[in-house]
Symmetry: C2
Subunit: 429 residues, 2 copies
């Protein structure tokens, strides 16, 4: 942990639109004046229908989370990503890029494109969302992509089953031009702040440090403890106005994760109940889909937040990890995420804040940092255990989560059980 006196000047925040290496944030949404012409042009081009995860990647690319990427990866970028988890830029600088951001097409789609240089990307309604230009089509070796990204090819990896196994045999890369900003119209779009908007907001609040917390689970008091403790440490380091970016992942998650709308409701309660301070916290949705690719994915999670103006990143045990899909063990060594993150090329300027382990202190009756000298007093409540409490309507120990936040979860699991009961009755009838 750097001290104020030894602090590298690079770790101070940079202003909006300039990434930490001094490059401009690449945004790919066309100006409103061009939209009609682009829509017209799209109607003349061969087209590809996007799936939901593809739309999420178009969203990610369009706002510059993956800057300096200018579109879906061509083979040159894909190979660097798979083999080196980073891209070398023309000026010799290295940027981190650990997950392949690629678009697959089928043999038929490839044939229909022929020798054309641009294609239209169509949304779920069939309307054009974007144009991909100076395209390059190359083979989609799924086995190799999966093995190098996950370090595992066992069946049951959620992103693989959703987006790779059923995908086409070709990848298509090119420069992306998005016709208008991606919206979901699910009542949560106001949370979907772009890196540009986040940087502007941090500037408006005169933040001198931004610490990001990536999550895809409800916030319990253990999370809150470490976020508040991080703020305290940053103040001690000499920062005057550290701002927390509470940044739930908004794209694809596996079926048994808590859905985004429930999580957002829960996060709102946590702020309303004062567990986190709204004055020094900014809640936004990170539009990326989830890979559950552990040490490889945590780099992406951190890199995208740098693009959004963060200069501190909180990393816990087994980030972006999950159980092995076919064996009774964690898919990744739980320590590898933070180790790999600390070694990752292109992330040298990010300050990584390793998690202290929080657990329920049965004596103090609250979440507290684990004290190994009295380990018998601590209770570890896993995500699975938490979900089981909520499903059974049983209350977790006092002080595990604020009551307003907990109620959201209980209501969600109750509604889920009612739906399941109705479904069963219907099937039985």
């Amino acid at each position: 942990m750097p001290t104020p006196s030894s602090r590298d000047p690079h770790v101070t925040r940079t202003s909006a639109l300039i990434d930490p290496d001094g490059g401009a944030l690449v945004e790919l949404v066309a100006p409103p004046s061009d939209r009609e012409a682009l829509t017209q042009e799209a109607s003349t081009l061969p087209s590809i229908s996007l799936k939901q995860i593809d739309i999420e990647w178009v969203h990610v690319l369009s706002e510059g989370w993956a800057s300096p990427l200018k579109g879906f990866m061509r083979e040159n970028e894909y190979l660097q990503c798979l083999h080196f988890n980073c891209l070398k830029m023309e000026d010799g600088s290295v940027v981190n890029m650990s997950l392949p951001i690629v678009l697959s097409i089928t043999d038929q789609e490839k044939e229909s494109i022929g020798a054309k240089e641009s294609v239209a990307l169509l949304g779920p309604s069939g309307g054009p969302v974007a144009i991909l230009r100076r395209i390059e089509i190359y083979p989609h070796n799924k086995e190799e992509r999966i093995a190098r990204t996950w370090g595992c090819t066992a069946p049951g990896l959620p992103y693989v089953e959703e987006a790779i196994t059923p995908a086409g045999n070709w990848l298509i890369g090119g420069d992306l031009q998005v016709i208008e900003p991606i919206k979901y119209n699910d009542g949560l779009d106001h949370y979907r702040l772009s890196p540009h908007q986040l940087r502007d907001e941090f500037d408006k609040r005169e933040a001198d440090a931004v610490f990001a917390f990536q999550l895809r689970n409800p916030v319990h008091n253990g999370h809150a403890l470490l976020m508040n403790d991080t703020r305290r440490r940053l103040l001690e380091m000499g920062y005057k106005n550290p701002i927390l970016l509470l940044h739930p992942l908004g794209g694809f998650v596996k079926a048994d994760d808590v859905p985004l709308d429930v999580r957002m409701e829960q996060h709102k309660k946590v702020l309303e109940d004062g567990v986190l301070d709204p004055e020094t916290t900014l809640v936004g949705i990170f539009p990326s889909p989830m890979h559950y690719a552990g040490p490889t994915e945590v780099q992406w999670h951190a890199k995208a937040r740098i693009n959004a103006g963060a200069n501190f990143y909180i990393v816990g045990r087994d980030p972006a990890g999950m159980g092995h899909p076919t064996e009774k063990r964690d898919l990744y060594n739980p320590d590898h995420g933070k180790k790999v993150l600390s070694m990752a090329p292109g992330l040298e300027k990010l300050n990584i804040l390793p998690f202290k382990v929080a657990a329920y202190d049965t004596v103090a009756k609250k979440m507290a940092f684990f004290d190994p000298s009295r380990s018998q007093d601590f209770l570890f409540i896993s995500g699975t255990k938490m979900r089981n409490f909520a499903k059974s309507g049983e209350n977790p120990p006092d002080g595990f989560m604020c009551p307003g936040g907990w109620k959201i979860l209980v209501d969600y699991y109750t509604s889920l059980q009612s739906e399941e009961a109705v479904a069963k009755t219907t099937v039985g009838a």
Copy 2:
């Protein structure tokens, strides 16, 4: 391809013992005066018995082929290797390191080591070969290692079956001190020149360019054509004395590859028959075992040759590739090897010379560069086809290989068939 006028000064050869980044070549063999004391010390330490491939890696490490590695990888190096194919050094420089150079131990061996800081490594005869110091033991996640190294976890990868599947559940890293130079006493040790010896030899010959050719197959006239053509191109570029390092791999190869002693005999004939010029060619054995890991391994093959003083590297179609072990296709895209090599961090100063494709020209009755305008005149003779010719005693087309070299192969396959016939008779009896 750089021209003499635009040539980067870094691509000129550096003198012995200084690697291209200016660091010293790390050699790990103890001076003769220390051998007795080390042997004595080894007898007091917990010990690990090395397998043949482990010995090959000790050999590789001891001579500095993997410099700046000072021994088997600790977890910090292993993770960087798996995720980034390179290591970041303390001074911020990046060195290429694409294959895990690791030593596995069993649960029992781990237990026997306990909290000791050093272990003795024992050779096949049971005598001590080396001491590993400041050891670190960490889990050997075989699935992840295989997936990230090969981009494939299908059964049947030769190195995996030989050295990983049967290996222990732990890896042990540390600083290696080798008691005396590794020798094989197989009549080929005089070919096993260390990077230090090779550099001295290049200096002695006043080479101003060294171009390396990695191979694990017999040399046919197509190979010779491109090596001779490379020399011609280097002379055209303004080099006065380019030397070819003909550098067959000497460690573990898969069962159906031609054995090292036969290959060395064949290479010798190729030089005797004047297909390659002995004056401008240096033949050495590269002691590394073979992974058949395509784009990941070709980086290792190139990096090790830089350490031996090469500044040009010839790379062909599908380097270090093989057929997929369970599917009817190449394991790797045949173009990826040279693409990945050209992108690889830490290899920027190596000049990569891509292969032109050579094939048998049935009109000119010799191996020639393939001319797509008269493709019907060319015959592609694969390794498998070549082996089948030799096995059946059939002659390949005139001019495919020099007669002396071809005879070596025919004799080898004939002896193999006699052995098989004897084995069958014995089983039948």
